[in-house]
């Protein structure tokens, strides 16, 4: 089965380190992955709340492009960004379940010469690493075991909810197992699927900030020295507001927040610039095995 890669806009902007490290890790693991040609924004959560049908069409264009790029053959589309992943899964489900919606989508795609037959399987990279490649293969690529690194794996609220496509909805473990395979220790942390505040940090800052702060505080309390994320917005919220949190809540939180793919890259011995470690605001080098 062929893998196509859909980075999405965030991974070309604020989450660039996620994109860089993901591609580097694909290479290191010897995976044959092509970027989806001509992809567009998934519309994120914003478009969906304004006009659902148009948002579905926007997302479906990417699915149709994937079919086209693979000549209509079944294909796996890798989507690392949590919002893109959810949007793609949701669009597929809604289109499959409603003939009415399907007609609209197929017609609108047809008007630009695209076809959508549902031949695309949307996959999260965590799912692919753990279930397609397997933890044994991952462990074999580890040249720098992450000894002493205590990771709080943070899945965020989108990748297993509402669609638990590859992991448990209440207590996902894929990322935890991955971290253990890299030589790190997985911290038992009950907040792994709790919301980081999402876009609230930009709209109702106090509400959003509080949610992010609670996550970091509990991770630190449980002995984590790094939070691994699978979402560009989660990573941004948790990392970039730490000084403001400390100011507002009178605390001293200082916890590196990296993409799980960056942590993989580090264990694989990849160059720090290749996996975008220099882009992190809270230096990751202070954490064990990450220097």
């Amino acid at each position: 089965m062929k893998y196509l890669y859909y980075p999405g806009c965030s991974l070309k902007g604020t989450g660039k380190a996620y994109d860089e490290s993901m591609v580097a890790v694909f290479q290191k693991l010897g995976m044959d992955v092509e970027e989806l040609q001509g992809w567009n924004c998934c519309g994120a959560t914003s478009y969906m709340s304004i006009d659902e049908t148009k948002a579905f069409a926007l997302i479906a264009r990417n699915l149709a492009l994937a079919e086209q790029q693979n000549g209509g053959e079944p294909v796996h589309l890798i989507s690392p960004c949590a919002a893109c992943y959810l949007g793609l899964c949701k669009a597929q489900k809604y289109i499959a379940e409603s003939e009415e919606l399907k007609t609209i989508i197929v017609d609108s795609l047809g008007s630009v010469g695209l076809k959508y037959t549902g031949n695309v399987k949307v996959r999260h990279p965590l799912d692919i690493f753990v279930n397609d490649l397997g933890l044994d293969k991952i462990a074999k690529c580890v040249s720098h075991p992450l000894k002493g690194l205590k990771v709080a794996s943070y899945y965020g609220c989108l990748i297993v909810r509402p669609y638990a496509t590859f992991d448990d909805q209440y207590n996902p473990m894929t990322m935890d197992k991955l971290m253990v395979a890299l030589g790190a220790e997985a911290v038992d942390w009950p907040l792994k699927t709790r919301c980081c505040g999402g876009t609230l940090t930009g709209t109702v800052e106090e509400a959003g900030l509080r949610l992010s702060y609670m996550l970091l505080k509990e991770a630190a309390k449980r002995g984590a020295n790094l939070v691994a994320t699978a979402c560009p917005l989660c990573q941004f919220n948790l990392e970039c507001y730490q000084s403001k949190m400390n100011h507002d809540y009178g605390d001293h939180v200082h916890l590196p927040v990296a993409f799980f793919s960056q942590v993989m890259g580090k264990a694989f011995g990849l160059d720090r610039r290749q996996i975008g470690l220099q882009r992190l605001m809270v230096p990751v080098e202070t954490s064990p095995a990450m220097a």
Partner: protein, 667 residues
């Protein structure tokens, strides 16, 4: 064999009676139109409608027409034959007409209740009436067979329901086989400490009945046993029972326990089912102090002698009655009974399926059944509420509806948990003085003395929070929450999301059908609801009967209920079984098959297909022969016969063809 039309006069004179069934039929079917249509059908002498055909005036109308208009065939278009065929057959018989000159058209369940459009419904009803008229014309006079019944009864499952039913039957003088798969009778009730709402000690009211079972001359009680195979029919069941070895000679053992004391294992090795896994027992053990039969048993998977063949066998030495027998084998019993009562109960929902409540993750999250054992004097902590971390709780949260009223698991209400949670709250408070919270969706306390008990527990100071709990977490956000289990819940009475820190969480898990209930269901050929509970014949009017005659239901295997409900149902099931076996005979529908010797080619196709072994081959005449007493009228031989020699009464080819023609002619 009577196969000719010998009713009053050979020419069929058919009366058609179309029922309104109040608005049940009339709201969708134009009943008058159907009547007018039926009037013009061949051989129809009269066609009438009535509001309730099953009522006395309705039946009298039919009888009067039979007499005055010399009707010799009757068609009633109304509800399902399951409901009223017997009624109208009796009506015919009372007017002197053989009851098998009757045919029913189901225009309610099969038409009005399932057809939205009135025009289509009327058309379909007319077509079904045409079919019945066409068919009934070639009906013949038949007689019901009477078959003697076996007077013994089998009760499957020896919880409180099975025990109660078995005792009633045994006291009525019937011989009862009581089959239980666990090592002791008693069921879940034996595990309970107290029973609501009276708080009487569960063991104190159950054990006298267990002991009565043991000593009753009319009861044969087989523990460690399961039903393997069922054949026959109401009045004459043949049942094979597999009796697993206990490895103890039951008649010799006096449960002195010396064998257990000297076992080479100093500590328990196997999780104890009776204590819901809160303790371990040795490979040789007594299930619980009042176990009946009062006899130890050996777990063959854990016993060194039985699993590996090597052991010092100190138990054998210690037993001066020589009761230990490692050579015991499975025994296959075969018994004949007239009726069966199924009382196999339930299992508890696995709390791990609701990971948000942390069972199996956090030490101090318990199920309510576990707490039942904790508060019991014979339980693993001798009645002290000591948690897995060795502490006694000061605050306790009881979460209702775990697995019940939840679309992800069981949509139904388990019906007993609200009361059981109230009782648990009371007991935990009594044992520990803890502050107890109940988290409920709705409090359901509808039966006698239940609301009063709720009130009593409220007065005792137990706290009630209305809202389905979101999660149980060890995530502490305030110093007061440190080291506690935090219950996160929306209190829907005050409209506030709350975090309530507690030491102990108790989950009121759902009752659910046994994981292997479907196997038993197949074995007894009974039906199941979609939740897995065995299905009663009618939810209101035949609550303990099944769709298989002679098989009755008692207790929770039919649906969640408490002890009073189970006992009442067991009594009803016993009465029904008694009625069947005491009558001495069963009447069997005269729908048996026969073979036309002239046509039979002796191919023997039908012989092995007969599920009731009713067909034999007569080598002398080269024909198959059906034993009418054994034939159940399933029609398998009729369908398989390549030459059309096998025929079935009430379902002759002609009758079926005429029925089809009736529909097709209409269309």
């Amino acid at each position: 064999m009577i196969m000719s039309n010998t009713a009053a006069g050979d020419q069929p004179r058919i009366g058609v009676f179309v029922c309104y069934c109040g608005r049940n039929i009339a709201s969708k079917v134009d009943v008058e139109k159907v009547r007018q249509f039926a009037e013009k059908l061949p051989n129809v002498v009269v066609s009438r409608t009535y509001k309730f055909m099953c009522s006395d005036p309705g039946q009298e109308m039919i009888q009067q027409d039979i007499k005055e208009l010399k009707l010799n065939r009757i068609v009633v278009a109304s509800c399902s034959p399951l409901l009223h065929e017997p009624t109208f057959r009796r009506t015919c018989a009372a007017a002197g007409l053989n009851p098998f000159y009757f045919q029913m058209a189901n225009i309610r369940e099969q038409v009005s209740w399932v057809t939205a459009d009135t025009v289509a419904a009327t058309r379909k009803a007319s077509a079904l009436v045409a079919a019945a008229v066409s068919r009934v014309a070639c009906h013949t006079s038949l007689e019901k067979k009477r078959v003697p019944v076996h007077a013994d009864v089998m009760v499957v499952g020896a919880g409180i329901s099975g025990i109660h039913a078995a005792l009633l039957l045994a006291n009525a003088g019937k011989k009862v086989y009581l089959v239980e798969r666990e090592p002791s009778i008693g069921g879940h009730m034996a595990q309970l400490d107290k029973t609501f709402p009276t708080l009487d000690c569960s063991a104190c009211i159950l054990t006298p009945k267990m002991s009565e079972v043991k000593n009753h001359p009319n009861i044969t009680c087989w523990t460690l046993s399961e039903v393997e195979e069922v054949s026959g029919f109401a009045g004459n069941f043949k049942i094979k029972v597999r009796r697993n070895p206990r490895y103890i000679k039951q008649e010799l053992c006096v449960a002195c326990g010396q064998c257990v004391d000297v076992c080479v294992f100093k500590e328990g090795k196997v999780l104890d089912d009776f204590n819901v896994g809160l303790s371990k027992h040795k490979p040789i053990y007594m299930p619980f102090p009042q176990a009946t039969p009062a006899c130890v048993l050996i777990d063959p998977t854990a016993c060194l002698k039985l699993s590996r063949g090597k052991c010092a066998q100190r138990c054998v030495e210690a037993c001066d009655r020589k009761a230990i027998d490692f050579e015991q084998q499975v025994i296959h019993e075969e018994v004949e009974v007239g009726a069966v009562i199924i009382a196999t109960g339930y299992q508890m929902f696995d709390a791990r399926k609701t990971p948000e409540y942390g069972y199996g993750k956090y030490l101090n999250v318990y199920t309510m059944m576990e707490v039942e054992r904790l508060v019991n004097a014979a339980g693993p902590t001798q009645g002290e509420v000591i948690m897995r971390d060795g502490k006694t709780p000061k605050t306790v949260g009881i979460i209702h509806c775990v697995g019940s009223r939840d679309k992800r698991h069981h949509p139904y209400c388990s019906s007993v948990c609200c009361m059981a949670a109230l009782k648990t709250a009371h007991l935990v408070r009594e044992h520990t003085g803890a502050l107890v919270f109940n988290f409920y969706i709705d409090m359901r306390t509808p039966l006698k003395g239940y609301e009063e008990f709720y009130d009593r527990v409220l007065q005792e100071g137990v706290q009630f929070v209305r809202g389905r709990v979101a999660e149980v977490t060890d995530w502490a956000v305030t110093p007061a929450e440190d080291g506690k289990l935090v219950i996160r819940v929306e209190d829907t009475l005050i409209g506030v999301a709350r975090r309530i820190p507690v030491d102990m969480v108790i989950l009121a898990t759902a009752m659910e059908a046994h994981h292997d209930a479907a196997e038993l269901q197949r074995r007894f050929n009974i039906s199941c609801s979609k939740e897995g509970w065995f299905l009663e014949r009618h939810p209101k009017l035949a609550p303990v009967s099944t769709f298989s005659d002679g098989i009755f239901l008692a207790g929770v295997c039919q649906g969640p209920k408490d002890i009073p409900g189970s006992v009442a149902q067991a009594g009803a099931a016993a009465a029904e079984a008694l009625m069947l076996v005491d009558k001495g005979f069963v009447e069997i529908e005269p729908n048996s098959a026969w073979i036309d010797d002239e046509v039979c080619s002796g191919c023997k196709t039908c012989v092995p297909l007969c599920p009731f072994h009713a067909i034999t081959y007569n080598a002398q005449d080269h024909v198959s022969v059906i034993n009418e007493a054994l034939c159940k009228g399933c029609g398998t031989c009729v369908a398989s016969c390549p030459s059309g020699a096998a025929q079935q009464k009430l379902f002759t080819d002609e009758q079926i063809h005429q029925e089809i023609k009736g529909v097709l002619n209409y269309v």
